[in-house]
Symmetry: C2
Subunit: 435 residues, 2 copies
């Protein structure tokens, strides 16, 4: 029996299943995209690193490596670009795709700028910091696409992997920024207060990110990460962090440490990419599995409901939904009919409970993303209302959390609630008068 | 220039706008449905009330009125049914429609049972409580559709009205259940402990619902509600609540009060319907306005981006996204081209900020819905783990909140977190070993 000929109740039950399947199919395209974005971000991080050392060095010592990394980025860039263009923007009709598409537009815009950026780096028209900022902005845009993918995914098991992946990517990006900040300080021979604060901020950020990653990733990803933490590379990075911390204008170190710092961090970041690759494989694997399950469920469901609908059509009275069998606990009068009616009602309840559970799990998993949004919003509020820099706004939140022994997110929440109450005071009193 | 011929960045910017518009159009269909559901719930509440008094009375005194109300329900039922069938289930591909469609399947199933239920009531095969429960289940299913509509709406101004409406409908439904519980007690001459607890639970529930309604509804709806609170009817209901509270097996009252209680509450509930009608009008008005705005925005956007794309195509180099103008604060080299490039980048940022704000506002507005879900989940946990009834589970949560001077939702949250931690302890230790 074709779906549209089914009785309405059964049709809506099937439509609910079909929506889940379509949602998964579209999520799977997004996950493919995320996988390629992870590659591109890694390439751009390398290109940023070598642009940085190329610009910091007066000779063309690093030009060859830089060119190789630019070519590497460009190849992955085309893949990501094709992936964007293959997305079915015309069919999409869900409001939450709007955010994803807008993030993609931002990235496409950034990609268009890359050739010009590369030229200007080679012409040494930019300072290392300017070049770093331009790459960082584009990488930030790419991470925002991954964030939206995680925030709109509707399958809890996939959302968990996306949350782990987003946080790990974010942590790795902060590691890349730490590498750049370290290059700046070591090549100068010391770290001033601003650069020290920046390093600390980047290190704490990495910790928060990998904590969340650890909570949501599977045992294998956690084990891979533990292996990296146990390497000599990481031990040496930590020891150089200590060196950086002890420097000052009157206690300088050999600028030669710059190269060691850069190499160690590059090795650390490359190792992190392995964890990321494991996560993207998990992601695609989960998508395939969930889609296969949803297909099989839909087919079973359709077959079962088709049999019910045929029995129902052949019967004189509505066997299917007779009040006797299903709601009022009266002994069944027709064994077969009532057996089916029972099983349809069971299916309906089961589907409902499952969807409810999916929604609860999503809610919980997205909680960490929401916390992130709250902290970002509180930071923005401090930046606009008090004219603070991003680092200073974050430091203010952090200090306030430490003083009151509260979690960062709770401080952010109470700051936002306070601002919202203040903003509402005026209209509320007006409303009071009108009542 | 047709959308698909635009440069990719512009195409994704337009796609984002189009998604918003499509989301609104589909939301508007849901809102029409919600409006009719509000009518149907009101009719079913009347029919439930008269079924109740008909079954409680040994004569056919109320049969005529009951028949009239059943006919009234049946007419609105057909409208709701048609509304369901006109929904485009085949086109929907968003995963969050699954919950809505499943709720609708549940309601359709309930509607199929209504003729049988009506027959059995007239044949006096059910007790008043059984009949009440059957109607209450269907009304609960209809309210769940409104809840899903509120929870998946993606326009904050519409979500606010839906949250106000859902809570008001829920409050009105609890008033209907209070009327039924009162009829049961007054006709018996007194209220035993269980019925007293039930009345209290229903009264507190109404208060919580109208509090949330008051927070989200506009001034006019609040004023209408205030007018109702000031009527003699409400004063008399409150005084009868006091009478009910003072009854016991040894302090009975005249069962004649039953009719007075029923009439007063019926008047109260009918008056509440006016507030609901105001809210549904607001809802449809808001939908129309938001859709008109989104249409106009999309047209403007398309025209502007079309002009930009044409300039870009006619130019030798990519004026539009040259790195000079947009990211690196270098003085513009081409006044016209750069002016447009700036404005595209501005549009992109603006759209991004707007979408972010929409998402933040939705988050805040849905907070009350999430709180409701948390309380429901905690209640269910107590019911399954401790074998409590729904009322007892709620009473337990409430007492715990009072003892610890916490909000109900925070008690629910900590109970759920505790249960989640306990459930995770086992797998966590396994995972520890594997690492």
């Amino acid at each position: 029996m074709p779906d549209h000929k089914m009785p309405p109740t059964l049709r809506f039950m099937l439509a609910a299943r079909r929506c889940e399947l379509h949602g998964l199919e579209s999520l799977s395209v997004t996950c493919e995209l995320v996988t390629r974005i992870s590659q591109l971000v890694h390439q751009l991080q390398k290109e940023r690193g070598y642009s940085n050392v190329y610009l910091g060095n007066r000779t063309d010592h690093y030009l060859h490596q830089l060119d190789a990394h630019s070519a590497g980025s460009a190849a992955v860039e085309r893949e990501v670009h094709d992936c964007f263009l293959s997305m079915d923007t015309a069919q999409a009709n869900a409001a939450d795709r709007a955010r994803l598409f807008n993030r993609i537009a931002y990235v496409l815009h950034g990609l268009e700028e890359l050739p010009g950026l590369r030229r200007r780096i080679r012409e040494r028209q930019l300072s290392p910091r300017q070049a770093t900022q331009a790459f960082t902005r584009l990488i930030g845009g790419l991470l925002a696409v991954v964030f939206e993918a995680a925030d709109t995914a509707a399958d809890p098991s996939i959302t968990r992997v996306l949350v782990a992946l987003f946080n790990f990517m974010q942590g790795k990006e902060l590691a890349g920024q730490e590498r750049a900040a370290g290059v700046e300080g070591f090549s100068r021979g010391h770290f001033d207060d601003e650069l020290q604060a920046r390093l600390l901020h980047l290190q704490e950020g990495q910790e928060r990110c990998v904590d969340i990653f650890g909570e949501f990733a599977d045992a294998e990803a956690n084990a891979l990460w533990q292996q990296i933490l146990d390497t000599d590379t990481v031990a040496q990075v930590i020891s150089l962090r200590g060196v950086a911390k002890r420097t000052s204008a009157i206690a300088q170190v050999d600028p030669g440490l710059c190269e060691l710092w850069f190499d160690l961090n590059t090795r650390r970041i490359d190792a992190m990419k392995q964890v990321e690759s494991h996560l993207t494989q998990c992601l695609l694997e989960r998508c395939r599995r969930s889609i296969a399950e949803a297909h099989a469920d839909l087919d079973n469901h359709r077959a079962l409901l088709g049999r019910v609908a045929q029995m129902d059509a052949g019967s004189d009275q509505a066997l299917l939904f007779s009040v006797h069998s299903s709601t009022l606990d009266v002994p069944p009068q027709d064994a077969v009919g009532n057996h089916l009616a029972r099983s349809v009602l069971d299916l309906l309840h089961e589907q409902n409970q499952r969807l409810q559970q999916v929604s609860d799990e999503l809610q919980e998993t997205r909680e960490t993303l929401n916390e992130r949004k709250l902290i970002e919003r509180a930071k923005k509020l401090l930046m606009t209302d008090y004219g603070l820099s991003e680092d200073a706004a974050y430091a203010r939140l952090r200090q306030s959390a430490m003083e009151r022994s509260m979690r960062l997110v709770d401080v952010a929440q109470s700051l936002l609630s306070f601002a919202a109450r203040k903003a509402q005071e005026k209209p509320r009193s007006d409303k009071g008068k009108r009542i």
